[in-house]
Structure formats: structure tokens, C-alpha cells
Subunit: 466 residues, 2 copies
């Protein structure tokens, strides 16, 4: 089915940008989701929107699945060609086209690495806040597909709060320009917001206009250990209510800190605490931040904070955040096989969620390590296989996840805050959304992609039209 | 067509909440859009989502148009029953259900007046930023339908940045709960953002969960007159780039100030300047704001500001903003018949747009008075009929608007930033959006509303299915 069109694909993007053969296709067969591997028939690497359009027109005509792919750092399998066909890799579309210092906007291609974009705009005194953990390897296009967040989302919001314009190629091949260098727009339905977070199922983003902020001049980092997560949550609620809005409010439970100590083979600060709160304050002057952290410190102490460690300079800041940054590797080292969820609950319910996680650990005999964005109520729940036999792992894991998601829903939350549904959470979608919503989403998908060729099999299943 | 179902409507909402007869229907036949008047056959006033659902099921079954209506303050005709049928007035659903001090959320019914909601949350030390000019009379439901903005949108964003959860009744009668007391959510497509700004065409919002902020403790207002709008724009660009983010950055051209002087019959401060910049700084301490306004003042003076008037206390703040607040009435007094547009251009292009407006004034012999949100690039363009004969007004106006919109598009802007397309800008939609986008929007509408009963004839025309 795909073989006959390979010569045409080579004409569109050039022979050197068409990849075939198992070995060459292997790097495109997985992302950062554990245990998922799907081979495409062919990978194509277009250079611009018009090549993307030609590829999509061809695929749409032939009804061949096309899976768009950014940097492959997703953790829900969104970029995997689960139905074979074409992987459309945006890796060559990696140029920052313009940094507009007067309108505070950057125009970028989707293949630009998020961290690189951050560094480039910083050179101009500007700031692109979204900071997913995979900052140094993920791409802007992938961030838009998943509506990526990160620690700074607490103060600054997620990817969708920064996208003002998009060039999109729709599944049937039309190229459209949505929005622009503008922050207000009520001209018809908000197609930009619909594209963001649609996991590459509604269109291929070939250019994005992103809003920038002026770069805050000063930062202060704090590490605040607590002996009770409930009290920590109360402290955070109070801090926010007192008008102190840090850039980040991250937490790690004790087990997470210990995993890092074990991984780094050294003692980390305050690792005996039940939970650690990592706070970054940013602003214009050191004085302003010092006033803030004094007020914040007082509140934390009222709620039983054990200490308040402050880092005002880069080296000590790096040391303070070392554990947080190493965490993913530390957990992987502890158990290479693990499942990561990124549930969200109302901020106030985090301690309830944590109690539930303890119960689930006992019920299923699987270790759970949690950390995440306390300010957002967004908790990264890591379920470890450890020494558990493969068969039991496969049996217990889906039940544990289902229990977890049900609890999250009961607490008024949602099953994914950053990672998306993709392939790996598809079977749980109906827990989080009612049938009307899922049906509407399917109809929207059909409105955009009548032949269901673009990233089929993601978020929900849809039968292909005959 | 409608008469036979009136008894059923009375059963659903009670006899006293069904309005018929020309006199009683008159208040529901117009909004704040000049020159539009359409009578419904009946107005119904439901009390809850389940009544709304029953009404929509009935109307959908009978294929009767239903036009949802908030407070009727819209300026693009979105709430007018242009195809007759039922007006669904949400006026009785006017309760604030919960102010959640721990999660900083408010749950409200759609009929609550935006300014009332603001006052209620302020009593708890909280802050709901969106502040459309009609604050004291518009409703939250209408704000969601139009994605309302306001002066504070510059710093704080528009309505969509605050909506975390919605209860929606879809046109076919299903009641769904989207999102919740959560700020991150990537569970399937972003239906919430799609509903916001859809002008009541995709669903009826019966409850909203809105994010709140802590209330800033201090405010300082500045009035900065300039003798050149170009220099004023440059100053604003520089101020923002220097990391000073005021709550509002409003401007009024000289003619707008003079219209206010005439209306108020008194001299206003700095009314001789070519343009006035109104700035509101907000924050935690007076000291912080003083530092900011000193830096801001220096920049403004570099760009030729004629003066910097500062108001730190409520009474002087009120005086400073008097002209800005009276502006709509002042312009109406000058010319009761007038057209208002709310175009958006990249911030940097505002002075180009203003030059274009001067040219259009001359070309068409119609007076234009402009003011608006300089920080957002969102300009309210008022085209005055004045003494021009009705026939000539009707001939020249659409040509002027078309020229204006084309210039806005050429400058990289959009034709509406706050008011929506509704009925009055429908014929210009294809200037701002390409055919692919309009076609996708129509298909989305069909996906939600297969019989095209909900607010039909708004944004675009869609033939009703047979």
C-alpha cells in the first residue's frame, strides 16, 4: 500500500529525506513511553508547509496513515505510527524565523528544540516560560501537540497561553494561517486552542507565533522541607492567598528524594523530611524577592516547615534543584520498567490524593513514587515494577491505574494534565469524559480529517470511512 | 410553528417564566448594537441546566431556533433572535454557587453580572480580572460567549484565561461537565476553549468554574499625554521591554478627549495633547509601584511625554479616569448613530493603523474617533454618522469598514478582538479567515448542532438540514 508512493515522496522531499529499512526506521518506532514500539513503512522529512501539504494530499488520496513526529520525547505514545504508514518527521523544520523585539513575539518552525528557543530569546532579554522536563530535547511542535506544561506553569501558564498564531496544514492538505502577532482574537471559533493539545490528530503545525515576556532579572530558590504533606499543602494554599505567586511550587515526597540520594550516591539536603517543597521566586529586584521570601518563610514555619534553605546565586541554586532534576533518571535506575501518570486534582486535594496512593501501593503491592507541581495540583505518579514478576505486573497495573483515575475523578480532577492521552491512556478516556464529549471529539476529528489518516488511533478509536 | 409548543414550555419553566406578546418581547428584541431589532416568538427563562436541556430537546425535535441571551449588552447582535423562535434568557440563573478560598475558584451561574461577581470575590480578598466596559451590566455567560476582554486584559488576559470548568447543555440536550477546579487539562480536545467565544452557537453554558487571583493590594494610576501617537507607541513598546507590565495601557486620541470635555462640559487634564495614555499599575506595595512608575516615567519622557500625572488615592484616580469611563456616552451624545469596530493589530502597528484611519476619514467624509487597549493592539474604532444623510451613511459605511478591515489584515491583525462576529460582522468574515477555516468552523457547528437550531445565522450562515 505504501511502497508504490515512495517514489512520489522522494520527489516531494528529495531522496535523502525519505527513510526506509528496519534499521533506519528503528529510531522512529518509539518515544519515551515504556514498552511501545511500532514501525512505520516510511519516514519522510519535509522542509516546509508546501511539502507537508503535498504529502498529506497524497496520503489522504491513498488513505495511508500519517503520524506527525517532533522530537519523540512524548510519554503517551502520541508520535508512534501504531497503524504503520508514514511518519512525518518535522526535524528539518528547525529554524527560528524571527524574534520581534517590539511586539515580543517569536516566529518559529516546529522542529526547534524548546530549550534552544528559550536560550535564543533570552539573549534578547526575553522569556518563553513553558518548561517541560524534556526541555533540552523536546520540540516546540511536540509541545503544541501536547499543550506541554512544566514547573513554571504555576505562575506562567502552559503552552496554549503563549501560542498566538499557527500555520497549520490540515489532513486534506490545505495550508491555513490562524491568528498572528496578536493577543486578542474573537474572529470565529478558536481553532488555535483546538489544535493545541490535539496530539497531532487535527493538523500539522508548520509554524508558530509565540508570545514572549520580558525576562525577569532575579531569581531566588527555596527548599522547604515539611514533616507532613497535609501541612505543606495548607502552607501552599495560604502562600498563594497572601498574594505571593512564585514561578514554581514543586514537591517531592520522601521516597523520591531517597531515590535521588541512592542514584547520586550522596546525601541531599533535608532528605529526612516527609516531603520537600521547591520554590522559585522570580522578579525584577533582589529586594522585592527577599521581601517575598521572608513573608513566604513565615507562613511555611506557621505550618510546621522544618527549615527554609535559600539559594540566591546560580551554583547554590543548581545544588538545591539537583535532586529534582535527576529525579526521572533516579526513578528509572530504581526500576527501569515503570508507568508514569500525570493526574491533576484541585490543589487543595493533593494530600487526599497522596493518602490514596499509599492505599493503592498496599492494595496492589507495587511501589509508587510521586512528585510534581503542587501549585497546579498536577502530580506525577510513578508506578514501579521493581522485582514484581512480569505477569503480575501486567495484571495489577491496569487495575491500579483504573482505581487511581477513578479517585482522581472523584476528587474533581482529570486524568492527564501534561502528557496527553495518546495511545497509552486511550482505554481510560471514558473514565474522564462522558460519552457526549467523546462523541463530539470524534465528530470534530471527522470534520477535520474525513478519511481519518492523520495520527489515527490516538486519543480514541474511529472507524475509517469506507 | 412555535405556538403549539408554548404550553410545553410553560410546563418546563412555569407559566410566569414564559414571555409572549409584542410589548413584553420588546426588551429581548435588541442589544447594544445600533439598528438591529428582531422579535422572538417567545422568551423562556429557565432556572437550571435540566430545564435548559428540556427546552433544547424540544426545540431540536421541532427544529425551532433558540437564541441564548445573557444581559443583552453585546455589540455585534449575537443575542438577537434573527430567525425568530425562542429566546433562552439566562437572567434567572444568577447565583454565585461557591467561592472556594483554598483553590481560588468561583463557581457561578451564567446570569451573574460580571461586576457583581467581581465585588463578591473582592470581599474575600480575591480578584476576577476580566473587565469589559459593560462590567456593571453584562453577565458572565455573555462574557464566556464572546470571550470578553477589557483594559486589564493586557496584564491579565481575557475571559478564556480564567475559565477552568463549564457545565454546558449541547443543542441536542445533553448536559456535560467539562474541566473543573483545575488549571491543567489535556484530556482530549479542548472543548472548553471551543465553547468560549463561540457566541452561543455550540452550547448553552449553565455553570462556570472560574479561576481567581489574589487581589493586588495597591494601585497607582497615571495619565501620560503625548503630542505624537507614534512616539507614544514607541514608549509603550519600550516600557514593556523594560519588564514593566501595568494592569492596563489604554489610549485615547485627542478627538476622544474633546468629545468627553464637550459631554461633561468641563476642562479635562491635558486635553490639548494629541493622545493620552492611561496606565494603571497594580501590585503588593506602594514602594514597588513607585519604583515602577519612576522607571516608566523616565521612559515616557524620553519619548516626548508632555507630563506625567499620578493618582495614588481613590478620588484622584476616579478623576483621572473620568474621561475614559464617560467615553462611550460622550461619543453617543456626539452622534447617536455610530458604528463601533474593535480591530486588533500587532501592538507596534497601532500608529500605522491610526494614520490609515485619518485617510479613511477623509476618503469617506465620516468622522472617526478611536481609543482602546494600546498594550493589546486592540483599537475601538467609532465611525460617526453625525450630520451625514442616512442614504449616504448606508452607502459609505460598509465600504469604509471593508477598507478598514483590509488594512487591519494587511498589518497582520484580526477584525475583532472582543466584540465577536455575531450578526453585524458576518459579511466580513471571509476577509479575516480563509475558506478552509470557515468551512471547518461550519463543520464543527454541524457536529455540535446537526439541526442548526442554536443561535442560527450568527458568525456564518449555514443552511438548515432538511
Amino acid at each position: 500500500m505504501v511502497a508504490p508512493i515512495i517514489p512520489i515522496l522522494k520527489e516531494i522531499v528529495g531522496e535523502e529525506n525519505v527513510v526506509t529499512g528496519e534499521e533506519a526506521l528503528e529510531p522512529y518506532s518509539h518515544d519515551e513511553t515504556f514498552g511501545l514500539k511500532f514501525f512505520a513503512n516510511v519516514v519522510v522529512k519535509p522542509l516546509n508547509a508546501s511539502q507537508v501539504s503535498e504529502i498529506l494530499k497524497l496520503a489522504n488520496h491513498q488513505k495511508i496513515p500519517v503520524t506527525p513526529r517532533g522530537a519523540g520525547t512524548g510519554v503517551s505514545g502520541g508520535a508512534l505510527p501504531c497503524q504503520g504508514g508514514i511518519v512525518l518527521s518535522l526535524e528539518r523544520m528547525n529554524k527560528i524565523k524571527e524574534i520581534d523585539l517590539e511586539n515580543l513575539m517569536v516566529i518559529t518552525e516546529p522542529g526547534v528544540i524548546t530549550g534552544e528557543l528559550g536560550k535564543e530569546v533570552e539573549k534578547q532579554g526575553l522569556f518563553y516560560p513553558p518548561d517541560p522536563a524534556s526541555l533540552d530535547s523536546c520540540s516546540i511542535g511536540g509541545n503544541i501537540a501536547e499543550c506541554a506544561g512544566g514547573p513554571r506553569a504555576f505562575k506562567y501558564g502552559v503552552t496554549k497561553n503563549y501560542v498566538c498564531g499557527l500555520e497549520v496544514v490540515f489532513p486534506t492538505g490545505e495550508i491555513s494561517h490562524l491568528g498572528g502577532k496578536i493577543v486578542k482574537n474573537v474572529t470565529g471559533y478558536d481553532l488555535i486552542s483546538l489544535i493545541i493539545g490535539s496530539e497531532g490528530t487535527l493538523g500539522v503545525v508548520t509554524e508558530a507565533t509565540l508570545r514572549l515576556l520580558p525576562l525577569p532579572r532575579c531569581k531566588i530558590d527555596l527548599l522547604v522541607p515539611f514533616n507532613s504533606l497535609t501541612e505543606m499543602t495548607k502552607a501552599v494554599v495560604k502562600i498563594i492567598h497572601q498574594c505571593i505567586i512564585p514561578a514554581t511550587m514543586e514537591f517531592m515526597e520522601k521516597k523520591a528524594v531517597l531515590a535521588c540520594e541512592n542514584f547520586l550516591q550522596k546525601k541531599l539536603p533535608a532528605s529526612e523530611a516527609e516531603a520537600q517543597l521547591f520554590i522559585e521566586l522570580d522578579g525584577e529586584t533582589k529586594e522585592e524577592l527577599q521581601t517575598q521570601y521572608e513573608r513566604l518563610g513565615e507562613i511555611a514555619l506557621q505550618f510546621g516547615a522544618m527549615d527554609i534553605l535559600v539559594a540566591e546565586e546560580r551554583p547554590s541554586q543548581e545544588r538545591l534543584w539537583e535532586a529534582r532534576r535527576m529525579l526521572t533518571e533516579a526513578i528509572t535506575a530504581k526500576s527501569p520498567i515503570r508507568e508514569r501518570e500525570d493526574v491533576v486534582v484541585p490543589r487543595r486535594e493533593i494530600s487526599d490524593l497522596m493518602s490514596e496512593l499509599k492505599k493503592l501501593e498496599e492494595k496492589y503491592g507495587l511501589e509508587i513514587i510521586s512528585f510534581g507541581h503542587l501549585g497546579d495540583g498536577n502530580v506525577h505518579v510513578n508506578i514501579l515494577k521493581g522485582e514484581v514478576a512480569q505477569e503480575e505486573w501486567q495484571e495489577r497495573l491496569p487495575c491500579l491505574i483504573r482505581d487511581l483515575f477513578q479517585k482522581v475523578i472523584d476528587l474533581g480532577g482529570v486524568i492527564s494534565g501534561e502528557h496527553g492521552i495518546g495511545l497509552s491512556k486511550k482505554s481510560y478516556l471514558s473514565l474522564g469524559l462522558d460519552l457526549t464529549q467523546i462523541e463530539l471529539m470524534k465528530r470534530i476529528k471527522q470534520a477535520f480529517d474525513p478519511n481519518n489518516i492523520l495520527n489515527p488511533g490516538k486519543i480514541f478509536d474511529l472507524s475509517r470511512t469506507p
